[in-house]
């Protein structure tokens, strides 16, 4: 074995990280996991709120449509009566 390669293996031998490294990694993972959970919860709330708003708008739209239809029916009843009276006169 070449002396320089021997010296390089000695110089570049593996070293352990500072004490508590594994604990810091695990703590960071925990922080990352709880942070991801918070983001997921927030995203779920936004989706639910958006869905509820959409449903409310649809409900309001349906209600308005029903009111317009009722108004049209109410308005068309006298018109029908007048038309049938006109038809009677002309005949």
């Amino acid at each position: 074995m070449d002396w320089l390669e021997d010296e390089l293996r000695r110089a570049l031998a593996r070293e352990d990280p500072p004490d508590g490294f594994a604990e810091r990694v695990l703590a960071r993972r925990e922080r990352g996991t709880s942070s991801a959970r918070r983001w997921l919860a927030a995203a779920a709330m936004v989706v639910v709120a958006a869905g509820a708003a959409g449903a409310w708008r649809q409900h309001q739209g349906n209600q308005a449509k029903q009111e317009v239809m009722l108004a049209l029916r109410l308005a068309s009843a006298p018109m029908d009566r007048i038309q049938s009276e006109i038809r009677g006169i002309t005949q």
Binding site: L4, E7, L8, E15, P17, V25, R28
Partner: protein
Amino acid sequence: MLTEAVETGYDFRALVRQHQATVFSIALHFLRDRATAEEVAQEVFFSLHRNLHQIETPAHAAAWLRKVAVQRSIDEGRRRSRRPQVALADAPEPAASIRPGDPLLSELLRKLVATLPEAPRMVMVLRYQEDLEPAEIAAALEMPVATVKSHLQRSLALLREKLARRGIGESGWTG
């Protein structure tokens, strides 16, 4: 933790303990900064946790960690533009009685390796820290085997020359 081990087949805590020296040392020998090396090593393990479901075997975990440690170290080195952090002129002059196995010689070699360009520096770290064969280094660095061999030969020749100028070498051991 138990759920995680059951779901993925791996105990993350055990993986960290088993591979922490490898990951930390790759970053340390490449960047020559303990605080940055720890930061990089933490990121590597954090990334492993996110990708634990992809790990197929213990050997795959070791290779995955080594590859990601290499990539993150190179990225960090580029981001910080630290190369060459230690100019050759800053390397310590050897003591008059420097001998093989001397801690001063080890420190001088680490500093000389740190002055190498990015690719040959990482090749040297993987060869002499991890004891990888050129083909394994080529796979980790995604470069041809011939390039790895060329980096190794040129780097060794360069280091030999720089050491010889300091009177260090087989034909010139001082003391």
